[in-house]
């Protein structure tokens, strides 16, 4: 897990544990703080707004439930790695 995501480790674990129970919430946005599921929302903006209202500046997780759109695709490479070409 990348370092920034470690602050949301409990929330992500709760998400992965509960996900199979949420088939009726597909495409909605779940709001989780620590181990508590605070609610489901129709839009990302609504979920984030509710997160700040409930938690202030304390950590919370907003994540879309089992949606196709949950995977981000980039044709441009975002990660730095070793160069795959050989200098001529």
């Amino acid at each position: 897990m990348s370092e920034p995501l470690e602050t949301l480790a409990a929330e992500l674990e709760t998400f992965n544990e509960k996900l199979p129970e949420w088939q009726d919430q597909t495409n909605r946005f779940v709001l989780i703080a620590e181990r508590d599921v605070l609610g489901f929302f129709d839009t990302y903006a609504d979920a984030v707004t509710a997160g700040y209202k409930a938690r202030g500046l304390s950590p919370f997780l907003v994540k879309q439930v089992g949606a196709f759109g949950a995977i981000a695709n980039f044709t441009r490479d975002l990660f730095r790695g070793p160069c795959l070409t050989t200098a001529s």
């Binding site: 897990m1 602050t7 500046l57 950590p59 995977i71 980039f74 990660f79 790695g81």
Partner: protein, 147 residues
């Protein structure tokens, strides 16, 4: 509507915008008598090949962003195995439209990555473009973006 027209540069269709913390976070900080960070100027690439909007990781520190989500990311180097990345909530301020208009997106989810070697500060992805009209006028080397 806010209309923006720019030249397509060698780096592609670039758009200058200001990035700040999201409106609900701004309200929480104000209520707590904390000074919110000033929005920062960013040179973004309009990228129809990006499903999501992404910003350079330098803005995470500059704006004091903390992750409020995670997203599975596929790029040419990940193959079929997605790379899990944190996501952040920010606001975008698109200024200097033709009619002097400013378009604000008060809550937008973004990922953050190192784009420093590419000469850009971020990618405007299809999640934002889905709410715009984007026209490329190739022979004139220009593009128009309307919110």
């Amino acid at each position: 509507m806010s209309h923006h027209s720019f030249i397509v540069t060698n780096s592609g269709p670039l758009l200058e915008t200001h990035i700040g913390i999201s409106l609900p976070k701004l309200q929480v900080m104000s209520a707590a008598n904390q000074t919110p960070p000033v929005p920062v100027l960013a040179r973004m690439l309009v990228d129809t090949g990006a499903s999501h909007t992404s910003i350079d990781q330098k803005f995470v520190a500059a704006l004091g962003l903390t992750p409020t989500g995670s997203v599975a990311v596929l790029t040419p180097s990940t193959g079929a195995t997605p790379h899990m990345m944190p996501s952040y909530d920010v606001a975008f301020y698109f200024v200097n439209g033709h009619n002097g208009g400013t378009h604000t997106i008060s809550i937008q989810t973004v990922t953050a990555c190192d784009l420093s070697a590419q000469g850009i500060d971020g990618l405007i992805g299809r999640d934002i473009l889905a709410n715009t009209t984007l026209t490329c006028v190739g022979p004139l080397g220009m593009y128009h973006l309307s919110f």
